[in-house]
Amino acid sequence: MKKILFLMITMVFIGSCQSNPNKNSNSVMVIAPDKDNAGLKLPDGFSALIYADKIGHARHIAINTNGDVYVSLSDVKNGGGIVCLRDENKDGRADVIKYHGIFDGTGIKIHNGYIYFGADTIVVRYKLAEGELVPAAAPEVIAKGFTPQNQHATKPFTFDQNGNMYVTVGAPSNACQVQDRTKGSPGIDPCPILEQHGGIWRFKADVLNQDQAKDGYRYATGIRNAVAISWNDVENSLFALQHGRDQLGSFYPEMYTDEQSAQLPAEEFLSVKEKSDFGWPYCYYDPMLKLKVLAPEYGGDGKKPGRCSNAENPIMAFPAHTAPNDLLFYTGSMFPEKYKNGAFIAFHGSWNRAPLPQEGYYVAFVPFKGGVPSGDWEIFANGFAGIGEVMSPGDAKHRPCGLAQAPDGSLFVSDDSNGRIYRISYK
C-alpha cells in the first residue's frame, strides 16, 4: 500500500514537473548570467548575475543545503535583520524575499538545522524546520555578555567539526592608547582590552546562554578585529584576517610619510592555533620589512621589533586598510581545479588611505595547499565600486562584504552599500 502511494505521489510530482517546466526544480536548466556580468570583471569562463538587489546593508551570507539564502543586515530593514531569500522559479535569482528577526549584525551561518546569527552583543540561533524559509521558532541565546562597543563591534563566527563555535571579539580601540586615537597618548601596558576583546573566543555550538567571561574560552589573542573568520574543514584548522591598525602617519608624522601610513600595516591573513598571539596592540606587520614591528605607542621607532619577535607572523600580507570582511574556503566542484580548497577573500575597501586613492573593493583569491598559500594572491572579482578610482568609500556603488558557496558551487557575494547579492558561476 505504501509503495503504491509513494508511486502515485512520485508520478504526480513528475507530471507536475513536466506540465510546468519553468517551475521544475530538478531539470537541467541553464541559468543565464546578466549581460554585463552584473558589472563585474571576472577571469575567463566566469559569469555573474544579480541574485537580489537593494535588500539592505547586506553583511554576511549563509546558504542552506536546499539553496535558500540568508543574509545578515547591519541595520534592521522592513522589520528584520535577516533577509531570507528563495529562488522558486529556478532562474538563478531570488523571487521570494522575506525579512525576519529583531536583531541586526554581521555573523550568520547555517549549522545543524539552525540559522546562527551574530548581533553585536549576542549570538542567537533560530531552528529551521524542514523546507521552511522563514524560521517560525523563537530565537535561542547561544552566547552573550559581549560588551557593547562603538568600533569593531560585529560578531562574525565559524564552526569546527567538533561542536565548537569561534567568535571574533574585536578591540574597541585602535591601538590601546590611554586616549584612543589621540596623538601623543601612550599605549596602556599591559593592554587591559585583551582580557575580553582583541581575539577569538570559543564556545560550545549547542549550549544555550553561554556568557563570554564565564563560559567563553579565549582561543587566540592579539587580533585587533577579524571580521573574516573561517574554519577550514580540509585542514581542520582556523583561519582569519585582521583589520590592521590606523593612523601611524597622522600620529607619528616624524616616523611615517603619508605614503608609508597608507601602506602600513599590512592586512594579515592568520593561521590561528589555540593560544596564538598575533601581537596587537603592541605590534603591527610591516610587509616591506616582513616582520612584526613594535608599535610607536609602545616605544617603537618604525623599525625595531622589540618584544614583537615573539608575535606570530601572518601567512600572507595584503595591502593596508583594505578591510578583509569575509573568508571562504572553496570546496565546490563548479569552479576549475585551481580554486579547489583555495581561499576567497572579500575586501570591503579602505577609507583611510587619503591623500592616496582608496584600495580594495574586490574579491581576491589565494591558492592553498597544506594549510598555507601555495602561490601569490590575485584579484578574482573586481568592478564592484562601479568607478575607476575610489577616492572616498562613499563613491563606491557597491562594496563586497560577505561570501558564501551555494550547493551548485556558485559563489555568492554580498554588498553592504546598496544591498546587492551577486552570484558568480563558471561556464
Binding site: H57, S74, D75, V76, I102, F103, D104, G105, A119, D120, T121, I122, T147, P148, Q149, N150, Q151, A153, P172, S173, N174, Q177, Q179, D180, R181, T182, K183, G184, Q247, G249, S250, F251, P253, D258, W351, N352, A354, P355, M391, S392, P393, G394, D395, R399, D416, S417
Partner: protein, 160 residues
C-alpha cells in the same frame, strides 16, 4: 532590545577616528594634503582666480576632520556621517560646537542612513578654529548656512 542597548551606550569608548595632529605643527602634511585634487574640486562655485582667498576653516578641516569625513564631506557609509547638503551642519550652531568639543558616540541617523562609530572630542581646538571650521563646512559641500561666530563658541564652551 539590542538596538535599545546600543542607543543607551554612549561614550564607552572615548576616542575614535577623527585624525588629530594635536600639538604638532603638521604643516608639511597639511600642505601635502591640500595639494590633492579631490580637495580642490570640492567646491564648484569658488572663483578660480589665484587671488581667491581660501576659507580659514579649510585648513582646520584638512588637519582634523578630513580622514573620517573625507575630502568631499561625504563621510564613510555606516561609520562616519556626511557633512553634505541635508546633513546636520545646518543645525543649531550651539549643538555643533558641543559635538566638536565633547565628541559624539553611538548610533546616529543622517538623511535616513545609520552611522555607528565614535568621534573623539576635539577640545584641543581654539575657539577661533572651531568657529572657522564650522563656518567652512556650513558654506562648502553644497551647504549655504550662516557662519558661526567666535563669540558663540566662547559662550557655549564657558557653559553660559
Amino acid at each position: 532590545m539590542n538596538r535599545i542597548i546600543k542607543q543607551l551606550i554612549f561614550s564607552v569608548v572615548s576616542g575614535v577616528f577623527v585624525i588629530s595632529y594635536m600639538n604638532s605643527n603638521g604643516n608639511e602634511k597639511a600642505e601635502a594634503v591640500r595639494s590633492e585634487p579631490p580637495v580642490k574640486e570640492i567646491s564648484g562655485n569658488r572663483p578660480a582666480e589665484p587671488a581667491a582667498k581660501e576659507h580659514p576653516g579649510k585648513a582646520v578641516y584638512i588637519k582634523y576632520c578630513l580622514v573620517c569625513h573625507q575630502a568631499s564631506g561625504s563621510g564613510v557609509p555606516g561609520m562616519f556621517p556626511p557633512l553634505k547638503k541635508g546633513s546636520w551642519v545646518g543645525k543649531d550652531p550651539k549643538e555643533l560646537v558641543l559635538i566638536i568639543t565633547k565628541g559624539l558616540s553611538g548610533k546616529v541617523e543622517v538623511n535616513g542612513e545609520v552611522y555607528k562609530s565614535a568621534m573623539p572630542p576635539q577640545a584641543q581646538l581654539t575657539d577661533k578654529e572651531i568657529a572657522d571650521v564650522l563656518s567652512y563646512v556650513r558654506s562648502d559641500f553644497g551647504n549655504s548656512f550662516k557662519p558661526v561666530d567666535v563669540e558663540l563658541v566662547k559662550k557655549v564652551r564657558s557653559g553660559k
